[in-house]
Amino acid sequence: MSSRAIENFDEKARDTIERAGRTTIYHGELLRHPVYTRVLHWSVAVFFFLALFSGFGIYLPWLFRWFTPIFGGGQLSRIMHPYFGVAFVCFFALQALNFLQPMLWAPGDTRWMRNVKAIASGEEKMDPPETGFFNAGQKVMFWEIVAGCIVYIISGTILWAGAQTFGRIPVAVSYVLHDISAVIMLGGIFIHIYQSTFGEPGTFDAMIRGAVSEAWAWTFHPAWYKQVTGRDPEQACEEARRNMAARSKP
């Protein structure tokens, strides 16, 4: 498939899904994620967790054997797991196409990463002014999933077909790579879920109804805020301080 055909498909899918739903933006809010992005995100999430839970019982049966009955037993877990995985990878591929532009690494992201400790601990109340639509942490997670999906596809195909097709050593190696990829992604998903719910309140709405408050955008994605509102957060911040000073003078 040529890149033009992929772009056409992406546009068509976007238009179709966009027509199927709507995003209501109330006063003082900004559009964060359109319907298409949200639908893709939750499709990815559903199949990620189906694949994760059906894989748990195969990963460590003596610890996670109670996961297998959810899928109708070990046999069905084993049969369904690859299909869940394929669906996860396919939906994520669409999301990757959708997110490719804003996920590209920018010089400001390196500075954000160097500052990650202060940001994560809450020492920095606001993200650095050059933080755009996605911050560096989100970009790292995105590219980790891209790399993880490639590992999943290769190792998963080998594991799916089995040792009788690919030989015993490729299966043994894939077995380890598949685990490592899953564990990294599991760790990433913990952080992702925490940050988007309790860690930074207001973020969950971005993926549920697609809208965020201007305050949220101003706090966590100042450069994006500047881009969509035309107001400069740094300047506004400076002016607010002067304003406060002027008010308290007399």
């Binding site: 990963y59 054997r65 606001m126 952080i191 408050s213 805020y225």
Partner: protein, 292 residues
């Protein structure tokens, strides 16, 4: 008999030969394939199509419904003479089975106290990891049932005090069945006989210690080169994916993942959320901006 007995069970401390063993003497096998037939008969297996490849061999490898296969190999010695080798290929019933290491399903592969490694079809999930774990290329996946099968060493017969079906059918005495100790003794005696009386200087017993020994042992004309008997591995090994990776690193990493979850909880408790800051009201900004 039990009364007045201070030990946990009657007969405590008595010696008993627990481990069973099948001895295959490749030097007296005549390639009659009676064992192949007996195996299919006893286990009531459906017909498996045979493949003719210009040898006496029934098919290239064992199959889901064909667990016992004589492998025919022609080996040319350095002096130009030919050896026609026949080796009965089946599950080796390792003391440290690679299939069992690799298996993620509860009770799908069991190792009995007598050394027999058995597959329980009802618990098999068909992941085929055992195929990858086995150094002898024995477990066979049946795509129609999505389960894996192999020789059971006739555990059903052994449990009744009978020898395996293949041993029962062997007409030359090349197959013997008994305790591991007895079979090892007979095998060593036979190897010694081959070395001393028949000129097979390298004759020996195949009981690979890299998998903890096996409960099927071979007497070979040349124990230094088992590969010539249809790829019998000289040093069978289990991939580390199913040994230290599976039994050490998987639980350790799993524990770290759970600790990561706890860490996030306590991060929230100790550091709290980052709450969106209200942006400065636009009007005031403009007003104040206009009149600094």
């Amino acid at each position: 008999m039990i009364s007045g007995h201070s030990n946990p069970s009657p007969g405590f401390g008595m010696q008993r030969d627990l481990e069973v063993c099948k001895l295959v003497d490749t030097t007296t096998c005549i390639g009659c394939k009676a064992c192949e037939v007996a195996c299919v008969e006893w286990n009531n297996m459906p017909f498996t199509p045979t493949t003719f490849d210009n040898t006496y061999q029934t098919m290239p490898e064992t199959a889901p419904h064909f667990w016992n296969l004589i492998k025919f190999n022609e080996h040319q010695n350095p002096d130009g003479t030919i050896q026609w080798l026949m080796r009965k290929d089946q599950c080796m019933h390792c003391a440290d089975p690679g299939c069992l290491h690799a298996c993620p399903a509860d009770g799908a592969i069991v190792k009995y106290a007598n050394g027999i490694v058995d597959f329980n079809e009802e618990n098999c999930i068909g992941c085929e990891f055992c195929v990858s774990g086995c150094p002898f290329n024995i477990p066979r996946f049946n795509p129609s049932t999505k389960r894996v099968y192999k020789c059971t060493l006739c555990s059903d017969r052994v449990g009744e005090g009978l020898e395996p079906a293949c041993v029962k059918a062997c007409p030359t005495g090349c197959l013997k069945f008994g305790s591991k100790e007895d079979m090892t003794f007979i095998a060593k005696e036979r190897a010694k006989q081959l070395r001393d009386n028949f000129g097979w200087q390298n004759a020996g017993v195949y009981d690979p210690q890299s998998v903890g020994g096996t409960h099927v042992i071979y007497v070979l004309h040349d124990a230094t080169d088992p590969e010539r008997y249809g790829n019998l591995p000289k040093n069978p090994t289990i991939p580390w994916s199913y040994t230290w990776w599976k039994w050490l690193f998987k639980p350790v990493i799993g524990t770290f993942a759970l600790l990561g979850g706890l860490g996030i909880l306590f991060h929230h408790v100790t550091n709290g959320p980052r709450v969106p800051q209200p942006e400065p009201p636009e009007k005031d900004v403009v007003d104040v901006g206009g009149h600094p």
